[in-house]
């Protein structure tokens, strides 16, 4: 088939998916998850960096034995990273993938028309 013809057919299929209500919904769900979580982990991480610089008294406060606030704050960055990664995975599997695969199928159907 002519390259130009293929290109136009694909573009039409993309436009069809783009104007589908499911696609608007997919975009909305994705944005509503990643924007607040990105802000959360960036603020949380920068707060940790800032405390290392400007809240050393607080960070040096001992909690259990030789374990102080600084170490716990650092370990909590690990915990939050693991938790957000797991939450996103669960969210994407349940709320994004079904919509995405439906739209992917729609794209394939549109291309065959």
């Amino acid at each position: 088939m002519d390259e130009e013809v293929v290109r136009e057919r694909d573009a039409r299929a993309y436009e069809a998916v783009h104007s589908a209500a499911d696609f608007t919904e997919l975009k909305r769900r994705y944005t509503r998850f990643v924007v607040p979580w990105t802000i959360t982990f960036m603020v949380w991480y920068l707060a940790y960096v800032a405390c290392n610089n400007w809240a050393r008294g607080f960070m040096s406060h001992k909690v259990i034995g030789h374990i102080n606030v600084a170490l716990i704050f650092g370990l909590l960055q690990f915990v939050s990273t693991f938790v957000i990664a797991a939450l996103y995975g669960r969210f994407a599997n349940r709320r994004l993938d079904p919509l995405a695969s439906g739209l992917n199928a729609k794209y394939k159907r549109e291309r065959r028309r």
Binding site: Y14, Y45, Y48, M59
Partner: protein, 548 residues
């Protein structure tokens, strides 16, 4: 700053140890060469060579990503910095880990769906091919070469150190050997060979680290507080060893510098080309997501264990002035700790563990340099040669031939630069690679995905703007001149006070992207942006796995 250069040879390595170490090194090399030869028999198409046929599973790619990311600088450098500076040595690893959330939430899956082989593919999707590919390839090659040079110079010193070799000539020999091996992996094995080398390395590194961590924790009856207490007492610095401030942020400039470093670390990872192209090796965006989750688990577990290694070394080894650990800037802390928990310097157990950790460090270097060489060679062949110079009028065979020659050329350049650079303090190049990735690549990638109005001039401006500002600021910073620890010690032309440019260059990268977009005359194509968003979010029309 994590530093590998300027090492002193390990005090009097015994001939027996040396023989054992060399035989384990040989075993590592033999295994990786076999893998490469095996992989070469399955390399047929461009998708095989550049993207390993896109048929790795999420777990396999997760291991490979971890193997690509955890350099000898993290393995030996971070534990060494903890051994010397306590708590502050741990801070690098937190930025390195949190950074993966940027990759997971904003980049990995969308890139997998919308690109083919290189970072530039994703940008070129809706921009003018030639200017955007030239810019993206330039920044890919610059970042990769910076990173590669730091690794190669580190390799020379490190292997010399682990084998007890003192002569400069032999260290140069080690650099040539490492360079020759990486050229072989990349030209012969392509992405498939490189990926398996990285998987093997990740398994070895995790196993070695788990073993030493376990042996350290046994010594302290699994009581973390006792381990920390012993480390603080032995360090001679008391409780301040467990508190922030021994290494970073001594005055306001230092504090802003530390914030700047933190920003570059957290935003740089998702813009490192050698990490980005790893997402093309899986069949779909779901597996790209799984890879990042695996990588986060592995990298997080690894950095948690470096805490035990670092504080263990501080508690069990001599780290005072004049000690081997202090003289090596901490780089021998992990190997010597392995020797100590294995039964001490004169025991068989100690000798075996020391040799084992040395071999793991060697495998680590090989896997990382191979990934970097492949990345720059792919970008040269696919972006610059096939799409800019030949304007897309090349056969796949020709393009792959160029990729293999490019790997050879880049390897040769890296060897030629690394040998004279041995005498320079170039450890800052790793942090600079992160700063460039965060300032040049990340703004372009994010704007391209999420900003409809973004156009070719915006992309070109943000890449060159971020790249040039990061590099220029570092040239005029104290890491290059003006301090006893600078790269150039004879002159002082620094005017930028910070060692890390990120806090200035990252906002500049984004700003240049905005300015370029509004000042450039070209209009972004609405249709292509809609296509990109459909494709990146749904995977419609994305490159599928190779069918053999």
């Amino acid at each position: 700053m994590i530093s590998v250069p300027f090492l002193v040879p390990l005090a009097d390595a015994e001939p027996g140890n040396q023989a054992l170490t060399i035989s384990l090194f040989t075993a590592v090399v033999a295994v990786t060469l076999y893998i490469t030869w095996w992989a070469s028999r399955q390399n047929r198409t461009a998708a095989d060579y550049y993207a390993g046929g896109r048929s790795f599973s999420g777990a396999q790619n997760g291991l490979a990503v971890a193997g690509d990311y955890m350099s000898a600088a993290s393995f030996l450098g971070i534990s060494g910095q903890i051994a010397l500076y306590g708590y502050d040595g741990f801070l690098y690893s937190i930025g390195f880990l949190v950074a993966w959330l940027v990759a997971l939430l904003l980049v990995a899956e969308l890139l997998r769906n919308s690109g083919r082989f290189t970072m530039a593919d994703q940008l070129a999707f809706r921009m003018k091919q030639r200017p955007v590919r030239t810019a993206a390839a330039t920044s890919t090659i610059v970042v990769s070469i910076f990173y590669l040079l730091a690794q190669m110079v580190g390799a020379g010193s490190l292997v010399g150190l682990l084998l007890g070799v003192k002569s400069e000539g032999l260290k140069a020999g080690v650099i040539i050997l490492v360079g020759a091996l990486m050229i072989f992996y990349v030209t012969v094995g392509g992405m498939k060979g490189t990926t398996w080398v990285q998987i093997v390395k990740a398994v070895l590194l995790m196993a070695g680290t788990v073993l030493i961590t376990f042996l350290v924790l046994v010594k302290f009856h699994f009581n973390i507080s006792d381990l920390l207490g012993a480390a603080a007492a032995k360090s001679g610095k008391g409780e301040s060893f467990l508190q922030p401030g021994l290494l970073y942020g001594k005055d306001l400039t230092g504090q802003i510098d530390f914030l700047s470093l933190g920003l570059a670390l957290v935003l740089g990872t998702a813009g490192l080309p050698h990490i980005l192209i790893r997402f093309y090796t899986v069949p779909d965006s779901r597996s790209a997501r799984r890879s990042v989750q695996w990588a986060i688990g592995l990298i997080g577990a690894f950095y948690l264990m470096t805490l035990a290694l670092g504080f263990g070394a501080a508690a069990l080894l001599d780290t005072g002035k004049g000690s081997a650990v202090e003289a090596s800037k901490g780089n021998v802390a992990s190997p010597l700790l392995a020797e100590s928990v294995g039964g001490g310097a004169d025991s068989l157990g100690g000798a075996i563990l020391l040799a084992l950790i040395a071999a793991v460090a060697f495998a680590t270097i090989l896997a990382v340099v191979a990934g970097l060489t492949l990345t720059s060679a792919s970008s040269f062949a696919h972006d610059l040669y096939a799409n800019v110079i030949a304007k897309g009028k090349v056969t796949e065979r020709q393009e792959l031939r160029v990729a293999r020659f490019a790997a050879l050329g880049i390897g040769a350049v890296a060897i030629a630069l690394a040998i004279p650079a041995q005498k320079l303090n170039i450890a800052f190049l790793v942090a600079l690679a992160f700063a460039v990735a965060a300032s040049a690549n990340l703004p372009a990638l994010l704007f391209n995905l999420f900003w409809r109005r973004f156009n070719t001039s915006g992309a070109v401006w943000s890449i060159y703007g971020g790249l040039i500002s990061a590099v220029v600021l570092v040239i005029f910073s104290p890491v290059v001149s003006g301090k006893p620890t600078s790269m150039i010690t004879g002159a002082d032309f620094h005017w930028f006070p910070l060692s890390n440019p990120g806090i200035v260059s990252i906002p500049l990268g984004f700003l240049f992207g905005v300015l370029g977009t509004f000042l450039g005359s070209d209009r972004a194509s609405e249709g292509r942006y809609n296509e990109l968003s459909v494709r990146s979010l749904t995977g419609a029309g994305a490159e599928g796995p190779a069918k053999h």
